[in-house]
Amino acid sequence: MNIIPLFVAIPLGMAFFIPMVGRKARKLPDLLGNLTTLVLLIMSLSVIGKSGIYWMGGWSPRSGIPIGINLVLDGLSGFILVTVSLVSFMATLFSVQYMEQYTSKLHYYSLFLLMVAGMNGVVLSGDMFNIFVFLEIASIASYALVGFGCRHEELEASFKYLVLGSIASILILFGVALCYAMTGTLNMAHLGQLIRGDMNPPILLALTFFLAGFSLKAALVPFHAWLPDAHPSAPAPISAMLSGVLIKAIGIYALIRVIFNVFGLTPLLSSILTTLGTLSMIVSVLLAIGQWDLKRLLAYHSISQIGYVILGIGLGTPLGILGGLFHLINHAAFKSLLFLNAGAIEYTTGTRELERMGGLNKKMPVTGSTSIIASMSIAGIPPFNGFWSKLIIIMACVNAGRFGLAGWAVFVSIMTLASFMKVQKYAFFDELKKARERVKEVPALMCFSMILLAILCVTMGLLWHSWVVDLFLGPARDVLVAGTNYAATVLGN
């Protein structure tokens, strides 16, 4: 039994199943949702280091022409799959008690699983149009989840996200159409084979559309307008999912897959990517410092950390790609942890304003200590995981002779540190406010998922050199370094 299609089929099936039975038993959606993400996590851990190609419906290529849709599991997609399943499991665990404040949990879990299925579909698919379809599933589910609370600012944020997301989708569809016009195929491997670095104007226009569309989905700086509204508005587990994995799976993953494996990285593209990355890093960290809304501040930091990832990968050197990918999974761990912390604070105190918190460390020890770990990780304090990945990216910049970029990376890291010192001071260490005397620690499952993520941050920081690189990052880096050889590996000629 081939395991690859199940990554899409299981969450899809559960998403269809939950609304059928969810009305009858109240606890069932919780149970089924968590079970599904747990199964996905185990499955994704079991495919680490494996690779395979699955032709949907048995339509394998006929005399070298791919006529069906294929699913491709290689180092890179396996790596993103693990990230997605890890964060989604923690988020569902957190949701069990957090989502009690909202109604209609069955819609919530169903949409959540559809989002996971969409992301898995994008990550595994080897077909341009299929990527578009699954990207739409993930996006539509996330539009609805952003507006799940139905307050006016949430609806507005959702609408803004929807409009910009739809523009991105239409641009991507236009790009697919242009590719089809020039090559007559939709399969990414075949497309890469037919283009073979021959950049005629329509293909370049298609590439521009892909760049703009996927950057919109990934919220890189000129295209970031929706993110600072959408991420704070969503319920906390969804913010963690959006920041932790959604913008990576349907934005960055798709972008680098298309650029590296289909079109091939040219020096021009490399400099575009590094410029976008640096711009995102600097602009959004400066915007983040002035924020007093905790979740909004975290949202701006997401853009900035995404900038690091794109900067590292855009350098195109093996070391830079390694650093970028490592930062990607680190960011997934610590940013989702930070958003869960923010959700825990909102759950108990009912506020997101930093000035109205204070001294919470005494009342909420688990949230406080995990938040310190996450803050130190994101700011790049030595033993934690964020430090190592930023170090690798900076070293890669220096090795590539881009000293300016290295300088900016260090600068942004310092600014991030300053920003998180502010968060720690105002939220956890200041005087305890009178109104907060009766605040209690959040329920057990929420604590549990935060502790798991914190452990993840620490272990990845300590063990990164041995197993993290060998198991996850090495194969993923090799896929990107191999570039357009992707076609030969997939089609086998």
């Binding site: 089929a9 609304p19 009305r23």
Partner: protein, 133 residues
């Protein structure tokens, strides 16, 4: 059914009389489009939407209450899930067949079956969207 209330939410007598005759035809036409999708233009989705349009017409001319008695919202959303699950299960069965060494996906080939399921799913889907408008 409550005549007065329907009078308020629906349209005039002429419209309602015509609709009473036309709805059945639209419904049958939708079923025809679904069943012949593999030979003629159209197919599951188009047919499904046409069936949905029959309900739309009911809602517009007689009001929401009447059309909800024909197909209640709970049943509609249950059918949604059933239809979508059916599609997925058929797809998965196809997968198992391939895995067994048979290179031709027998169940995928059963076009009408799949087609009908999609259509019923979508008809119901679209019907459910209507009350939102």
């Amino acid at each position: 059914m409550n005549g007065e209330k329907n009078q308020q939410s629906g349209m005039t007598t002429i419209v309602r009389t015509v609709c009473r005759w036309v709805v059945g035809c639209i419904f049958l036409f939708g079923v025809y489009i679904v069943l012949y999708g593999h030979l003629t233009p159209g197919g599951g989705f188009a047919g499904g939407v046409i069936i949905a349009c029959a309900f739309v017409l009911l809602t517009l001319s007689f009001g929401k209450e009447v059309s909800l008695t024909k197909l209640s919202k709970g049943v509609a959303s249950e059918l949604d899930s059933v239809g979508a699950l059916m599609f997925l299960i058929i797809a998965l069965l196809g997968m198992w067949t391939i895995w067994g060494g048979n290179s031709s996906p027998i169940l995928f080939r059963n076009i009408i079956l799949v087609w009908t399921f999609i259509s019923s799913v979508l008809a119901v889907f679209l019907y459910v969207t209507l009350p939102l408008a």
